[in-house]
Symmetry: C2
Subunit: 245 residues, 2 copies
């Protein structure tokens, strides 16, 4: 069910000479190196590993898993170095960005430099980029249709000066729609992601959706690195007995 170039109204001519190539996902789909994909390629080559955090269902803890994974990785060292790993977090949930809050950087702002957008550093080796840092009013909803969201994701991938990362964790919105299609198309056309960490909860409704997410990964040739079963039980703070006992 992935939209073809034809379905998107593409006349089917050569992408490399098409005047719309920089706004069009069909060019990225075909692996044509447009100006934007060239810029994304340069930025993403500075990142050793790119890991996506995915879940079709909302509220299962994608952002929590992303932030905890980021903090945990930032305390580790690479095999051949005595300096800790350099970790970046990119939040592409444009309508509901919660990474600033999760990373404890709510009041920070992103600055523009000659190198591009400078992400927010929550530790010396841990940086974050989110649309939450760019909004003037924190309560303002982002009421954008697909093309505008795709443009923002292009900018995130091509404009952020990560300055050499070991791991970039990408937190995504729920669903299998514009943001995720664009992200994976743009990455597949430049530097493929290492894979995806899927997050779910044990409820039937969440499991149905995780099966869809697995199919989504297969269809987009995204390797699955693992599945986190979040909120598997709740240990009562009063009697300390986990349910089922």
């Amino acid at each position: 069910m992935q939209p073809s170039a034809k379905e998107q109204g593409c006349p089917g001519k050569d992408c490399a000479t098409c005047p719309m190539r920089d706004q069009c996902s069909a060019a990225a789909e075909k692996g044509v190196l447009t100006e934007i994909t060239k810029k994304i390629l340069i930025r993403m080559q500075e990142v050793k590993h790119k890991v996506l955090i995915l879940s079709c269902k909302g509220g299962v803890g994608k952002s929590t898993v992303t932030s905890q994974l980021a903090f945990a990785l930032a305390q580790r060292f690479s095999h051949d170095s005595t300096t800790p790993l350099n970790i970046g977090v990119l939040d592409i949930d444009l309508c509901g960005p919660c990474m600033p809050k999760m990373m404890g950087a709510e009041d920070e702002e992103v600055h523009q430099s000659a190198e591009g957008w400078s992400p927010v550093y929550v530790a010396e080796n841990l940086s974050v980029m989110s649309i939450g840092f760019l909004l003037e009013k924190k309560d303002e909803p982002v009421i954008w249709r697909g093309p505008k969201k795709n443009g923002m994701i292009q900018s995130f991938l091509s404009e952020v000066a990560w300055e050499g990362l070991d791991v970039l964790l990408v937190d995504t919105p729920p669903g299998t729609s514009d943001e995720k299609i664009s992200l994976i198309q743009m990455l597949n056309a430049t530097c493929k992601p290492d894979g995806a960490v899927l997050v779910t909860t044990p409820q039937d409704v969440a499991l149905t959706q995780i099966r869809k997410e697995i199919m989504f990964c297969h269809k987009t040739s995204t390797p699955i690195l693992g599945i986190v079963e979040n909120m598997a039980f709740f240990c009562c703070p009063h009697c300390h007995v986990p349910p089922g006992f």
Copy 2:
């Protein structure tokens, strides 16, 4: 931040004569009665009250609130009648439809008749429509960009033969994006919805998002009927003491 007609590539000519009017949201925005809006108007005039269930954040229980509200309303009577209210549920969460499961109608199918799509009846006075009933494989993800999703929502509003409803509850996906913009534009251009029930949980991250949802309702002139604070506490099944005591 609502996308203007100009931003969507509209040449700004008269919508009523524009050949793209049926595919274009700008026409609906301006209240031009295209063929599609005329069809939606006819269908929606058969529905007395239209209530949207909204939340910017996923996993807060929109679908659960929708289904429980539907079952509860279906047991009530109108003031001037001895027959119970006629209730319909429309699930426009195209990427993660869980209404079939929530309403206990997982294996049902939608049938086409001369009147249009016949929704699935879970009780004599309670009918449901969801993309979940239309998918051949239940685990198949719906990987659609905005325009294709908008087309599906248009079809849901214009093709489903509800056969005279007292209340139509519309379950929506998380975010403030294509599906919700299209739904509200299409309804505002035809029969305005009565209002929205907002769903949230007490966590800080969810509250930030509910403020965005309130702003979204103000911007789209959608009255807020109430806010449900879901999952406000968890009562341990072992010691039966709610947390905080």
